[in-house]
Symmetry: C2
Subunit: 320 residues, 2 copies
């Protein structure tokens, strides 16, 4: 009656396996499953901590007719770097959908969450970026900001990057990471200046107050807001959502209680006519950007389908 | 920046460590924390499966000023025994409350959930059992039924046991488990007969329709209902809750959406005057049974504080 011990993969084994995966179509398939009602994704579980400040999210669910149900734990403890630890921590668990037996433990320490989040951002750029004279502005200098540039080549040839961060030190450190790359990185002295120079803006901070305002947004701009995944966090003034021609949610259900779209709804800045779900745009790209004059905003709160897809792919591609 | 690998304990390591623990005061402390608002316990996460029928519960949270937050996954796939697997599967995870770092993985395959559930039942008997002429009736013959008798000695000297099961084969197998014990086990031909002969009744089935009815319950009876932990399952007719002098919930919050008390509330069979939380009775036993004429009912839906306490104790007592 004993069950077989689960596969346990370390962070380095996860990272090595990740190299062999074609992540964009994988994560796209997850979003399409969600928007096609083929995914069971209950509300996010959440724990908050005060001293020190931290949060843990449990995202879980399954895609019908796949082998595993997946439970993902990802936490952010923002004072960790002071003691030499990464802010992100966590793991992913895969269980048989037929028996409940635990099949695999991916000790990814939050890395797969970071990756699948960056890939979702790339997918929004693939469908929503303007076509011409692309200049990309990144707000924030943490791991998500870094991953944007590491994966940008998968969806864009753009090399003109602007970056804004809270301290000169952090922006300098961010620029240094890419000193041997082909990117031409300009440090923006302010967010308005970044917005003025760019027609794609990616926000990657854990801010709880708006950083970007509608008056700063030029026609033709696409914004992908990555930072806010709770009811507390926000990076965009809600007027930006009102101004946008198309507003994309990774999960319309989740956007009812989390992220920029939640905040916009609270301030009566969300029109039903502009709101679309990412998976539906992947299925029918004509629902995305029509021309280079539209303002488009994608709000990513992070959905369990991303975790399910990436965990399953790691397990299937791991070579013992 | 790398974190130390978590402690990973196999089922046998968990089982060996369990032998050294004094479980009753441990689980009592968890219930007291809950009833004293010292525990953060979000709503239970739940996944349901249809083919084959199965369910997975995620219970999680933390007790303030303890070292770990705990996430517990426990599933029931009721057709597993047909293919040689236990119905119960799952694991427990312990993370630092200060950094989110994963500290331990207990590969208990659902065993710790089974144990902490049985111990909660023992705690209800400790505070609510009548004092004289005890005869205990167990409805159901599965793992929970078995664990009741394995742990009964911790709270009672009673040796007179009645058991009822769905098939003669299962009841016989159950009786055989205890053939070398001091228990005098009588197979009850029907549930009314079991109820007639016993003043303690413990229900341990995954039934979704009532098995026990108020007309069958004698004065002075205590009932502990273990089986129902969802909004679907029920073992007691809701009139039993109406008839009871004291109704005990392991978590009044959880009882709003799960278990016998939830069903009773839906049928207007719950009086606020009779409802008490188990942790409050542990703090002040005078809130429990007053005499041998009262009818008392304890409804256990299973609370994360039990998981937090047992996981933490296993980690603290594991000898490397």
């Amino acid at each position: 009656m004993n069950t077989k011990a689960p596969l346990v993969l370390s962070l380095s084994e996860v990272t090595n396996t990740l190299k062999n995966l074609n992540l964009i179509p994988l994560i796209e398939e997850g979003f399409v499953s969600l928007s096609s009602n083929k995914a069971i994704v209950p509300p996010v579980g959440e724990l908050l901590f005060e001293n020190p400040r931290g949060e843990s999210h449990i995202k879980y669910g399954y895609i019908i007719n796949q082998p595993y149900y997946v439970i993902k734990v990802a936490s952010g403890f923002y004072e960790n770097p002071k003691i030499g630890l990464k802010s992100s921590q966590g793991l992913m668990l895969a269980f048989s959908q037929k028996t409940g037996v635990l099949k695999a433990i991916l000790l990814d320490e939050g890395h797969l969450t970071d990756i699948r989040t960056a890939i979702a951002s790339m997918i929004t750029l693939k469908y929503l970026a303007p076509k011409h004279n692309i200049r990309i502005g990144i707000i924030g200098t943490g791991i998500q900001a870094e991953l944007q540039l590491k994966y940008l080549h998968t969806v864009s040839n753009c090399k003109e990057i602007f970056v804004w961060g809270r301290t000169a030190e952090k922006v300098k450190a961010f620029k240094d990471i890419f000193k041997d790359s082909n990117y031409n990185i300009t440090i923006a002295p302010s967010i308005p200046e970044l917005a003025h120079n760019c027609n794609i803006i990616i926000t990657t901070t854990p801010s709880t107050t708006p950083l970007l305002f509608s008056s700063q947004i030029k026609k033709g701009t696409h914004i992908t807001a990555i930072g806010s995944d709770t009811s507390e966090k926000m990076e965009l003034d809600t007027d930006i959502i009102k101004k946008a021609d198309i507003v994309i949610s990774d999960s319309i259900e989740q956007s009812k209680t989390r992220g920029e779209i939640y905040k916009a709804r609270q301030n009566n800045c969300l029109s039903k006519d502009t709101l679309r779900e990412l998976g539906n745009i992947i299925k029918d790209p004509t629902l995305g950007r029509q021309n280079d004059n539209q303002i488009t905003v994608a709000d990513l709160t992070g959905v369990a389908v991303q975790d399910i897809m990436i965990a399953t792919a790691i397990i299937n591609n791991y070579k013992i």
